[in-house]
């Protein structure tokens, strides 16, 4: 194999992919203007974006963050408080608030993240779960700010009914594109390399002069901020926040499952996972009810994924393609089979 330096610059094909991605995002609600479809696109974009945001800390850095729903809740409540207490009126301007909310969340969260990131693995996982409960408890109990268990209603904008969902869609899609761009940027920068080094062997990375503390902090805070932005738009769309809904473990876990299904750590994995599951699940829940058998079915499917597709869809496909290509070009590398077991196994000591 002749080794050409790997070009990590923006290749033409990458540019084309990005353009196609944006084009699809823009055209989607024009091609399928039915409100219920746009509604479906909104939530799909939201979950996909949140999953990608989770991937920054959970995938790239390999830190098992189980409480990203907390940031979603913070974003949702920030939006609710801004629109009701400060009277930031309805309309299009409200969407813009998602950005300051994202940045604010990231900054406010930074000191907490710094403390959290001193722990690892299971301890980190459990602490991030408590983050969610702490957020929820605060939302229940800081009644003067959040109206506690009554929840808060946000002012509904006066968009025309026939096109009501479009602005929300474009806000979500724009945020998704932004998240994609951000993740792509991180991935193709030294930051991404440093994060992957942390994932593989954090102590070793430190011993190689990698600023592990700084890159972890950056990844977690940006993950938090982006998630909060999605929460903010969600709150505006749903027009009602309630502690149990806004601080939602569903979100925390869904994003992880999307990432796992699609492929943890890969750029498009979480996106693929969300694109596959969200529409199907929303549609099925709508079309066919549910029964307790689903719990059992769920456990079954989950176990099947773990035992049969442990690396996720995107890496598995990629491996399959690589192997196919190798086979075509003849049996060159004796260690081709080794590739399978080692690519995603974070640590091999």
């Amino acid at each position: 194999m002749t080794a050409a330096p790997r070009a990590s610059r923006l290749r033409p094909s990458g540019l084309a992919q990005a353009a196609a991605f944006v084009a699809v995002l823009v055209v989607l609600p024009i091609a399928f203007p039915a409100q219920w479809l746009v509604n479906l696109f909104i939530f799909t974009a939201m979950f996909a974006g949140a999953a990608m945001a989770w991937n920054l800390i959970g995938g790239s850095a390999g830190y098992p963050a189980l409480g990203n729903g907390a940031f979603f809740g913070v974003g949702a409540y920030a939006m609710a408080i801004l629109t009701t207490h400060l009277g930031v009126g309805g309309g299009y301007l409200v969407f813009a608030w998602a950005i300051p909310i994202a940045i604010g969340t990231a900054i406010v969260f930074a000191p907490i993240a710094r403390l959290l990131l001193r722990t690892r693995a299971a301890v980190f996982a459990v602490l991030t779960i408590t983050l969610l409960f702490i957020g929820q408890t605060l939302a229940y109990n800081l009644v003067s700010l959040t109206q506690g268990s009554l929840g808060m209603t946000l002012p509904s904008p006066s968009f025309p009914a026939a096109r009501y969902d479009q602005p929300f869609y474009y806000a979500m899609a724009g945020l998704l594109a932004l998240t994609m761009l951000f993740c792509w940027g991180v991935r193709n920068s030294k930051l991404g390399l440093a994060l992957n080094a942390v994932r593989d062997d954090e102590d070793r990375a430190r011993g190689l002069g990698v600023q592990t503390e700084m890159v972890k902090l950056f990844a977690y805070c940006s993950s938090a901020g982006l998630t909060a932005a999605f929460g903010a738009i969600w709150a505006y769309y749903i027009s009602f926040v309630f502690p149990g809904f806004a601080f939602d473990p569903i979100l925390s876990l869904s994003v992880i499952l999307f990432a796992f299904l699609g492929g943890v750590g890969s750029l498009s994995g979480p996106l693929v996972g969300a694109l596959l599951i969200v529409p199907v699940q929303q549609y099925l829940a709508f079309r066919f009810g549910a029964s307790h058998l689903y719990l059992i079915a769920y456990a079954g499917v989950f176990l099947l994924v773990i035992y049969l597709l442990p690396n996720g869809i995107v890496p598995s496909c990629r491996q399959y393609l690589t192997r196919l290509r190798r086979l075509r070009s003849g049996p060159t590398a004796p260690d081709a089979s080794l590739l399978v077991s080692n690519v995603t196994a974070g640590k091999s000591q």
Partner: protein, 293 residues
């Protein structure tokens, strides 16, 4: 003051049940490095089984422990041998998810069999209590505590004073060295898993006696157990027991004297702070290395 002492009594008595469950998880974690995310659900399953044994055969829930513990041991042994050991390298992280899935599947089964309504086990002595120096001691909670202590004591004896216990401890300290010394590490892991599950078999019926429960109760219980485990330092049995009793007392005292609204919250914050200062937990020496997946 009376209320303060009363709430401490309540807290200590309930802390015993958490201690029993959490020490099962610790036992399993020590050897396998797997956190049993299904411990709470398996305890609930045992509560259901005990409920059935009580309603259909009149078997006292405390006695049903004698059936459930061996049963759960075999179940745990089987789960490790058939499912967990096959995970290989990605082991502990994936095992955690496998167990969580098992827990959810188990809830699917109990929802199907028992429905989703709250179950209360009400033996004749359900609402009896003693008054000692003016303090209420509910009979059920007292016996639950005694039972928890007895089972914990048995675990301790097994661990410290038997050949099996020595092999278990060796494996948990250094699996590679243990296997060089002829210890069958996989078998020890399966046994540890079995013992961990057996703790759920013992604690489930008494949990069901004390609290009304449904399949959904597993999540609250699980979050408590995780907190206790982390605070106790994951591998330290005494640490986990103390943490469990501490959790029971703190929650109870705050709920009774300050505000029930903030009791869990204050505990979480305390956990948070403790771990900031000592990431390995108050009592533990085990610091998790590397990423979880």
């Amino acid at each position: 003051m009376h209320l303060f002492v009363q709430s401490i009594i309540i807290g200590v008595l309930i802390g015993g049940v958490y201690a029993l469950l959490a020490s099962g998880m610790t036992m399993m974690f020590g050897v396998t490095r797997i956190i049993n995310f299904a411990q709470a659900m398996f305890a609930i399953v045992c509560a259901y089984l005990s409920y059935s044994l009580f309603t259909h055969f009149g078997l006292d829930p405390f006695l049903s422990v004698a059936i459930l513990m061996p049963m759960m041991f075999l179940f745990g042994y089987g789960v490790y041998t058939l499912l967990l050991r096959r995970l290989g390298k990605a082991g502990p992280a994936m095992a955690l998810m496998v167990l969580f899935a098992l827990g959810i599947g188990a809830q699917g089964v109990t929802d199907l069999v028992y429905g989703t309504n709250t179950i209360t086990i009400t033996p004749s002595y359900a609402n009896d209590s003693w008054v000692v120096f003016g303090f209420q001691i509910p009979v059920i909670r007292f016996f639950a505590f005694v039972m928890a202590v007895a089972v914990l004591g048995a675990f301790h004896l097994i661990r410290q004073h038997s050949k099996l216990g020595r092999a278990l401890r060796a494996t948990s300290q250094n699996p590679a060295a243990a296997s060089l010394l002829g210890v069958d590490v996989q078998k020890m892991s399966a046994i540890a898993t079995g013992l961990g599950f057996a703790a759920a078999g013992a604690a489930g019926p008494i949990y069901g006696l004390i609290f009304p429960f449904t399949g959904n109760s597993q999540y609250d219980l699980l979050s408590k157990l995780l907190t206790v485990m982390i605070l106790g330092g994951l591998v330290s049995m005494p640490g986990v027991i103390i943490a469990a009793v501490f959790l029971g007392v703190v929650e109870s005292v705050i709920a009774a004297t300050i505000s029930p609204d903030w009791s869990s919250f204050s505990f979480l914050v305390a956990l948070f702070i403790v771990l900031m200062v000592r990431p390995q937990g108050i009592f533990g020496g085990h610091r998790m290395q590397g990423a979880l997946w």
